[in-house]
Symmetry: C2
Subunit: 326 residues, 2 copies
């Protein structure tokens, strides 16, 4: 896992993956007490950065293996990313999803042409089920984060941030990244290490599901006690990845954690000030930037909104709670 | 009013105005029955394309006049655009707004640094008050659309569409544009005439407030009977502009009109499929592309979402009505 793999992924992505903009708002700057630069990966194909990792993995596969089909397990965004990238490559895809995944994500994954298989998040291991089905059907498993080509694809976000930060005159800043298994966090960190060493990545997680923050503090992998009970479904994972954590430990931290209500607040501000749709797990980094200013240093902060696949009722609830502007 | 003014406006805008992306979704393509390319100007500074025209006007002004200050009449997006552009240029701005303008828009305009002067629609004349203040303080009026440098600024959207369409391999398509006074429509049409002659601009308006469509049919300027009763507040104007209509008549048409409910449907699809926030008047072109397929020709259609400054309650109402995904 190195910067050359990220650069190769960026070359394979050209013409297929969107270069998302870097957005600003004087209103967000005022709330945060520093300049806030937002990378809205909700505008990526399939509504999240996961399209990058999936494209990278599929485009790097042996064509014969790829045409036999791929498999993924995911609460939704990796599912849609793999379904989309598979459809673009003409490859069949089977996606294993928790039965409590948001309806929009389930529907979208199926509509993108994938076969969806549901499992119980609380009592079953998606890794075990996934590997069994993949073996039975001769499918290649595309892991959501502990997969070098997936990390390389997510790292292309970091290459863009490095270039866009330079254009904006930012030479030192913290980069807040919504963090589940750590694929996006580690990929961005590797890209910034090579191309923007003044940028330091800090993972942001939901309170109570902050395995990466605790692992960084402990100096070794810590698990979450539970995997249910957060609205931030996209970024709740059992523990940091075996590939991602050593990178995160070397390059990132300290971690941050925000409450579900703070995530909803971040969603409302994305709506009001940036005109983009963030899902709860995609809004935790923005929430930290806006609501935890004393836990951040520097005149400027870069924030990744990692996805926007949220059910309408949840989004409207966030606005009802935090959408007042006066 | 010519293409060179638009190219000059684009040069002055470099580094200040965002180049918004061109977004796609296989779900929108399926609904529309053709490929749909969406230009989300809701992601522009201040949440609408109006920042482009305001930037163009302010950046083209004589510096001494500009530093004396500018004035605008507006209760909405033009107000915020002028306030923002004036603040960026260090120029004072006075915005005359009706006392019943939405609190959000008043607050945003003031927060962007403008002096907001309220007047009573029922008992006071904004022109009288505006002329008195402008004369007293030596302010220059920036008109919302019938102003060459404003049209030139809005035309930079068209330069970007021409370039992005070429990158996407589109050499012929209709370009649906949300249309009020016609500044954006005429600016895009002039840019496409010069740089993408296979693109034809078609204005889209709210039903019952379709003065441009009727003017095109009649061959001369027609007025709207009423100015109240549409949720598409941003694009309801008394009649086409004296500068904009001759351009629209020469290059654009036929016009399209959609109902308020269709505009809400467009907003919901922008949320679900593109993860961007559209206001009702900003969604009419997308609504036409999705819901009026038989009134459009060609394999591909380009759509401008002109703004995203919508109250949370209105947005949530659109999702409650049209946000179902199954």
């Amino acid at each position: 896992m190195n910067i050359d793999m990220i650069r190769d992924a960026a070359r394979r992505a050209a013409g297929h993956i969107r270069r998302t903009p870097l957005l600003t708002s004087p209103f967000l700057d005022e709330i945060a007490g520093r300049r806030v630069y937002v990378k809205p990966e909700c505008l990526q194909h399939t509504g999240s950065f996961k399209a990058r990792g999936a494209w990278s993995a599929l485009s790097a596969m042996d064509p014969d293996l790829r045409s036999a089909g791929v498999m993924a397990y995911s609460s939704g965004n990796h599912a849609q990313g793999v379904a989309w990238a598979a459809a673009c490559h003409g490859a069949p895809a089977v996606i294993l999803m928790p039965s409590d995944a948001p309806a929009l994500k389930r529907a979208n994954t199926a509509a993108l042409g994938a076969e969806v298989v549901l499992y119980d998040r609380a009592t079953e291991s998606r890794e075990e089920i996934g590997e069994r089905i993949a073996t039975e059907r001769g499918l290649t498993l595309v892991r959501p984060y502990d997969e070098p080509q997936v990390i390389a694809g997510q790292g292309t976000v970091g290459l863009e941030i490095a270039a866009q930060a330079a254009e904006a005159g930012i030479d030192a800043a913290e980069v807040l990244v919504c963090c589940g298994g750590g694929g996006l966090t580690s990929g961005i960190a590797l890209a910034c290490e090579a191309e923007a060493p003044g940028l330091r990545v800090r993972p942001v997680e939901p309170e109570g599901f902050d395995d990466v923050r605790r692992s960084l503090l402990a100096g070794g992998i810590e698990r979450n006690d539970s995997l249910s009970g957060s609205i931030c479904d996209a970024i709740v994972t059992p523990q940091p990845g075996d590939l991602t954590f050593p990178i995160i430990r070397r390059l990132c931290g300290p971690g941050l954690a925000v409450s579900d209500d703070e995530a909803l607040h971040g969603m409302a501000q994305a709506f009001l000030r940036l005109k983009v749709v963030a899902e709860p797990g995609g809004a935790v980094a923005l929430a930290a930037a806006l609501l935890r200013p004393t836990e951040i240093t520097g005149d400027a902060v870069v924030v990744v909104i990692s996805g926007g696949n949220v059910d309408p009722e949840v989004h409207s609830g966030a606005l009802a709670r935090h959408g007042r502007t006066s």
